[in-house]
C-alpha cells in the first residue's frame, strides 16, 4: 500500500533530514532491558532512574550528545521497541513498567535487527559510525529459544558487527548469559543502576572521541568507588 511513496520519499527524506542536520559520526547503542515481572518494585524504579542519569550524563558532553544514539528494546511478556534510535539530545528516557514472562531470545533478535537497519541507514546517508553496542540487562532467564541467538551473537562479534554486553541483576541465570555472550557477563552490585549508566555514558564518550575501529580500553567496572559490577 502506497509503496511508491514509502520507497521513494517518505523513508528516504525522513532519514536524510535527520542525518543532514547532524552528520556527526554515530555511536549506536541498543539497551535490551528485562521488564518481566521479576523486575518489579525498586528494581524497575532504579533502572528508570538510571536511564535518566544516562541521558543527563550524555547531555553534559556536547559532542557525545550528538554522536551517541540510544535505542531501547524491552522484554516483559512481549518484545517491544520502546525507543527507536535517537541521538542523546533527543532521547526521552521512557518509564518502564513490568509485565509477563522473559522472551529474551526474541528481544535480542529484535535489537540486532535494529542495529542492522540502522547501519543500513548510516550507509545510505554517508554517516560514519563506531561499532554498535548491544547492552542486555536481565534478572532472569529466557523463556524462549535463545540458542540460535547465541550463534548470531557469536558470529556478529566475530565480524565486529557489534559488541554485546550482558549484565545480570541478582537472580539472573549466569550460565545462560555466559553462553549468550562472547564477553564475560557481569553481575550488578545491588541496584547500582545509576553507576552502571554513568559508566556506560563515560565509555561511550570515550568511544565517540576515538577513531571508529579502534578498541577503546573500557574502565574496569568492577574496580574503584565508581564500580558497579562483579564477576
Amino acid at each position: 500500500m502506497n509503496k511508491f511513496f514509502a520507497d521513494s520519499t517518505y523513508d528516504g527524506s525522513f532519514g536524510a533530514v535527520e542525518f543532514a542536520e547532524n552528520p556527526e559520526p554515530r555511536v549506536p547503542c541498543v539497551l535490551i532491558v528485562d521488564t518481566s515481572t521479576s523486575m518489579h518494585g525498586p528494581r524497575i524504579g532504579e533502572l528508570n532512574k538510571g536511564l535518566k542519569v544516562y541521558r543527563d550524563e550524555l547531555l553534559c558532553d556536547a559532542l557525545a550528545a550528538k554522536r551517541v544514539e540510544v535505542a531501547v528494546v524491552t522484554f516483559g511478556g512481549r518484545v517491544t521497541r520502546k525507543v527507536d534510535f535517537v541521538t542523546a539530545t533527543n532521547f526521552q528516557p521512557p518509564t518502564l513498567e513490568v509485565v509477563g514472562g522473559t522472551p529474551m531470545g526474541a528481544a535480542i533478535n529484535t535489537a540486532l535487527d535494529m542495529i542492522e537497519e540502522r547501519r543500513q541507514q548510516y550507509r545510505e546517508n554517508g554517516i560514519a559510525y563506531y561499532r554498535p553496542w548491544a547492552f542486555l540487562i536481565t534478572d532472569g532467564e529466557p523463556n524462549d529459544q535463545w540458542q540460535p541467538v547465541a550463534a548470531r551473537i557469536r558470529a556478529g562479534e566475530q565480524r565486529k558487527a557489534f559488541s554485546f554486553f550482558a549484565v545480570g541483576v541478582k537472580g539472573a541465570n549466569m550460565e545462560i548469559l555466559q553462553k549468550l555472550s562472547a564477553r564475560k557477563p557481569l553481575w550488578l552490585q545491588g541496584m547500582k543502576f545509576a553507576e552502571l549508566f554513568r559508566w556506560l555514558s563515560n565509555s561511550q564518550q570515550a568511544v565517540s572521541r576515538s577513531s571508529p575501529g579502534d578498541e577503546v580500553p573500557l574502565v574496569d567496572p568492577t574496580q574503584g568507588p565508581d564500580g558497579w559490577a562483579f564477576v
Binding site: 500500500m1 502506497n2 509503496k3 511508491f4 511513496f5 514509502a6 521513494s8 520519499t9 517518505y10 528516504g12 527524506s13 525522513f14 536524510a16 533530514v17 542525518f19 543532514a20 542536520e21 547532524n22 552528520p23 556527526e24 559520526p25 556536547a62 559532542l63 550528538k66 512481549r78 518484545v79 517491544t80 521497541r81 539530545t89 522472551p103 531470545g105 526474541a106 550507509r123 545510505e124 546517508n125 554517508g126 554517516i127 560514519a128 524462549d144 572521541r209 576515538s210 577513531s211 571508529p212 575501529g213 579502534d214
Partner: protein, 691 residues
C-alpha cells in the same frame, strides 16, 4: 574528582587563585573559572604532577607570549602550583567568554540554538577567520598539531580563538616541544599509525586538519571523507583518508564514493575553492603541497564578496555565480532547512509557496511507452525461386531423374513384367545412389539444417516476444500504480486548505497499515501465546501474515484453528496496533491541525509539495527507464529476428539452387526410402490389378 578538592593554586610569584566552577573537562585536564577574575581560566592537569617535559614546555610558552598570540589564542600566562605541595599542577590562561565550540556553529541543531542568526555567510566568515588564525600561528613558527573541532572557540561575531594551546608544537631555542596527541578524523594519512609523541609535525600536516575544519564549516557539518560508498563495503573515515577517498571529489572513478544526500556539492563553490579541497584531500604520498592558510584566506575573502541572496528564501545565501540556489535544491530534494529565521523552526516565505505552487501547476504526468504487437515480426520461410537455368546436373540430379524414369517403368508393369523388374532395380539403384552419394547427402543436410534452424529461431522469437510483453506489462502496472498514488497525493495537497485534519487522518491510516503489514506473525510468534512456527506457516499459507490480516473472515477460512488461539491473535493485533506511533511526515501533527493555524497548513503544503515534486521526478525517471528498457529489449529482439531472416534467406537460396525434382525427392532419408518403395509397389499393384 581529585582536582575538585584542589581549591587554591598559586603562580610562580606566589599570587593565589581560587578555583570556581568547572568550565570544561578533557583528556588532559579540567578547566576552571577563577574566583574574582572573570578574564582568567585555570587548567588543572589530570596527571599530577605533570611530566617535567610538560612543565618546561609551558614555561617556554609563557615566556614567548605576545599580544599577537593573545589575540587568537588562550595563550598560557603562568604556570600554576599546588599551594600544598608547591609542585606544578596546571596553567593559567585567559578565559574565552561568550564563545562556543566550532561544532556548535556548523552543527545545525546547535546552531539553531546558539547562533540562530547565522547564515551560510557566517560559516564562510568563520572559515576565513579560522584560516587567518592558522596563518598567524604558522607565521610565528607554531604548529597546532592536534587540529580538531573542539580546540577552537567561536563567538557571535565569528571571531575564533584557540584553546588547549598546551598541546601545540612550539620551539624554544634549539629545543622543539612536540604535540603528543591527535584526533584521527583530522589526521593526515602520512601520520596514521605514527607515534605522535615523537613525531615532528609540519605545516603541511596542519593544513590537512585546516582543510577538514573548513570543509565542516562550508558544508554545514559534513566530513569530507564520509559519503556513500559504491558497492557493499564498510569503511571508516581513517581508511577513507588513507586511501584519498574524498567523498565529494570530482574523480569518482578513483574514490568510488559519492557525496551523501541532502548536502552541498563541491561545484556549489567557486572553482578555485574546489581545487583547493581536491589538493588538500587527494595529495599523493611524498608531496607536501596542501593549500596554505594564506591561499584559503584569499579564496574565502573572494567568496564572501561574491555571495548572493535567494529570491525565495531570505535565509538562503550562496555563491553568486550559481544559476540556482543550492539550499532550495537541497530542500526540494527532501533535505532540511539548514538556516532559519529567529530561531523558529520554519518560516515559510509566501514566495516560496507560490514558487512551489507554480511548479505543481506545471506538473505533467509522463506517458508510459506503448508496445504494439506489430513490434514483433517473426520471419517466415519463403518459397524457392524458379530459375531459368541450373548448373551442371549432379549425381543427385541424375539419380532423381532415374528415379522418375524407374517409376514410369514400374507403372508399365501391366504391359511387361520385365519393366517392373527393371523399374524396381532402377528405383533401388537410384535410391541407393541418392542415399549414399556424398554431394546428395551434403545437399540434403544443408537444406535440412537450415530449415531446422529457422524453425528453432521462430520458436525462440515467439518466446522472446511473450517475455518482453509480460515484463512491459509488469512495469506498466507499477507505473500506473505510482501515477495513481501521485494523483492521490496531489489531491491531499489540494485538500489541505479545507480539511487538514482529514488529510492527516488519511496519512495516519496509511502509516498504520504500513506498520502493520511489516509486522509479520512469523517474526513475532513469541508474542502470541500458543503460536508456533509451524502454525505461523499454516496461517501464512491462508494469507494471514500480519496483524492486518487478522480478521474474522480470514481466520474462518483456516481449518482447525482453535478458539483460544483466535482470541490470542485478536488480542495481539490490538496490542501491536497500540504500539504504533504516528510520525508526522510534514512536521505537522494533529494538535497543530487542531490549533487550525495557517502556519500548520503552510508547513504541510510545503512539505507535501516537495514530496510530490520529488515523486514526479521519480515517475519521470521511471517512464524514461521503462522506455530505455523497452528499446533495449526491442533492439535485442530485432537483432535475433535479423538472424532468423538471414536463415530464411539462406534456406531459400539453397533451395532455389536445386532442381525441383531433386529438391522434392532428396529431402530426407525417409522421403528417399518412401520414394524407392513407392514406384515398385505401385507397379506391383498395377500388375496385380491389370496385368
Amino acid at each position: 574528582m581529585k582536582s575538585g578538592m584542589l581549591h587554591e593554586v598559586i603562580d610562580s610569584e606566589g599570587e593565589k587563585y581560587l578555583l570556581d566552577e568547572l568550565l570544561g573537562k578533557g583528556g588532559e585536564g579540567s578547566v576552571f573559572a577563577v574566583h574574582g577574575k572573570p578574564a582568567l581560566a585555570a587548567k588543572v592537569f589530570h596527571k599530577n604532577p605533570p611530566a617535567p617535559e610538560t612543565v618546561a614546555k609551558l614555561q617556554a610558552m609563557v615566556a614567548s607570549r605576545n599580544p599577537g598570540l593573545d589575540g587568537i589564542a588562550a595563550w598560557p600566562r603562568a604556570l600554576l602550583y599546588s599551594s600544598h605541595t608547591g609542585e606544578a599542577c596546571g596553567v593559567l590562561t585567559p578565559r574565552v567568554r561568550d564563545a562556543r565550540h566550532l561544532h556548535e556553529l556548523y552543527g545545525t541543531a546547535a546552531r539553531r540554538r546558539f547562533f540562530p542568526q547565522a547564515r551560510w555567510f557566517h560559516l564562510v566568515l568563520a572559515a576565513r577567520n579560522v584560516a587567518a588564525a592558522f596563518d598567524a600561528l604558522h607565521e610565528s613558527g607554531i604548529l597546532i598539531g592536534d587540529v580538531n573541532q573542539g580546540n577552537l572557540l567561536i563567538d557571535e561575531t565569528m571571531r575564533v580563538r584557540f584553546i588547549d594551546c598546551d598541546s601545540f608544537q612550539v620551539r624554544s631555542g634549539a629545543q622543539t616541544y612536540y604535540c603528543p596527541v591527535g584526533t584521527p578524523h583530522f589526521t593526515p594519512p602520512e601520520l596514521h599509525g605514527v607515534k605522535l609523541r615523537d613525531a615532528s609535525r609540519t605545516q603541511d600536516h596542519d593544513r590537512f586538519g585546516l582543510a577538514i575544519l573548513l570543509f565542516h564549516l562550508l558544508f554545514v557539518g559534513r566530513h569530507p571523507f564520509a559519503g556513500r560508498l559504491f558497492g557493499d563495503r564498510d569503511q571508516t573515515i581513517e581508511r577513507a583518508i588513507a586511501e584519498r577517498r574524498f567523498a565529494f571529489s570530482k574523480d569518482r572513478t578513483a574514490t568510488l564514493m559519492e557525496p551523501p544526500p541532502a548536502s552541498l556539492r563541491l561545484d556549489d563553490l567557486p572553482p578555485a575553492i574546489e581545487k583547493l579541497f581536491e589538493r588538500a584531500f587527494r595529495q599523493p604520498d611524498g608531496v607536501a603541497n596542501r593549500p596554505t592558510a594564506q591561499e584559503w584566506i584569499q579564496q574565502l575573502d573572494a567568496l564572501l564578496a561574491e555571495r548572493k541572496g535567494c529570491s525565495f528564501d531570505p535565509t538562503h545565501l550562496y555563491y553568486s555565480r550559481l544559476s540556482q540556489c543550492p539550499w532550495c535544491r537541497i530542500e526540494d530534494e527532501g533535505g532540511p532547512a539548514f538556516f532559519v529565521l529567529d530561531g523558529s523552526s520554519s518560516i515559510i516565505s509566501p514566495q516560496r509557496i507560490e514558487h512551489l505552487e507554480a511548479q505543481l501547476y506545471r506538473l505533467k504526468f509522463p506517458a508510459f511507452p506503448q508496445l504494439s504487437p506489430q513490434s514483433f515480426k517473426v520471419p517466415q520461410a519463403i518459397a524457392p525461386k524458379r530459375l531459368q537455368s541450373y548448373g551442371q546436373p549432379t549425381v543427385a540430379d541424375l539419380a532423381a531423374v532415374a528415379f522418375a524414369g524407374s517409376a514410369v517403368a514400374c507403372l508399365a508393369s501391366p504391359a511387361s513384367p520385365l519393366a517392373l523388374a527393371v523399374g524396381a532395380l532402377g528405383s533401388l539403384a537410384s535410391g541407393a545412389a541418392l542415399m549414399l552419394n556424398k554431394s546428395a547427402i551434403a545437399k540434403r543436410q544443408e537444406s535440412g539444417e537450415l530449415a531446422d534452424g529457422l524453425l528453432a529461431a521462430q520458436n525462440d522469437l515467439n518466446r522472446k516476444s511473450r517475455a518482453i510483453t509480460a515484463a512491459h506489462a509488469k512495469r506498466q502496472a507499477s507505473f500506473d500504480q505510482a501515477t495513481a498514488e501521485l494523483k492521490t497525493e496531489v489531491s491531499h495537497y489540494r485538500a489541505a486548505d479545507g480539511q487538514l485534519k482529514d488529510v492527516l487522518a488519511l496519512f495516519r491510516m496509511t502509516q498504520l497499515n504500513r506498520f502493520l503489514t511489516n509486522y509479520l506473525i512469523s517474526e513475532h510468534a513469541s508474542e502470541i501465546p500458543g503460536m508456533t512456527p509451524a502454525l505461523a506457516s499454516v496461517l501464512q499459507s491462508y494469507g494471514v501474515e500480519s496483524p492486518l490480516d487478522v480478521t474474522q473472515m480470514n481466520l474462518f477460512a483456516v481449518p482447525m484453528l482453535h478458539d483460544g488461539l483466535t482470541l490470542e491473535l485478536f488480542a495481539w493485533r490490538d496490542r501491536v496496533s497500540r504500539q504504533f506511533v504516528f510520525k508526522p511526515e510534514h512536521g505537522v501533527n494533529f494538535s497543530d491541525a487542531d490549533a487550525g493555524g495557517k502556519a500548520a497548513v503552510q508547513r504541510f503544503k510545503v512539505t507535501q509539495a516537495r514530496r510530490i515534486l520529488m515523486a514526479s521526478h521519480h515517475l519521470d525517471s521511471l517512464a524514461a527507464a521503462s522506455r530505455n528498457q523497452l528499446e533495449r529489449e526491442l533492439t535485442f529482439f530485432d537483432r535475433s529476428a535479423d538472424s532468423a531472416r538471414e536463415l530464411a534467406k539462406n534456406l531459400r537460396a539453397a533451395q532455389s539452387a536445386r532442381r525441383p525434382l531433386e529438391r522434392i525427392i532428396n529431402q530426407s532419408p525417409w522421403m528417399i526410402a518412401a520414394s524407392t518403395l513407392a514406384g515398385p509397389a505401385a507397379g506391383a499393384l498395377a500388375y496385380w490389378l491389370f496385368g
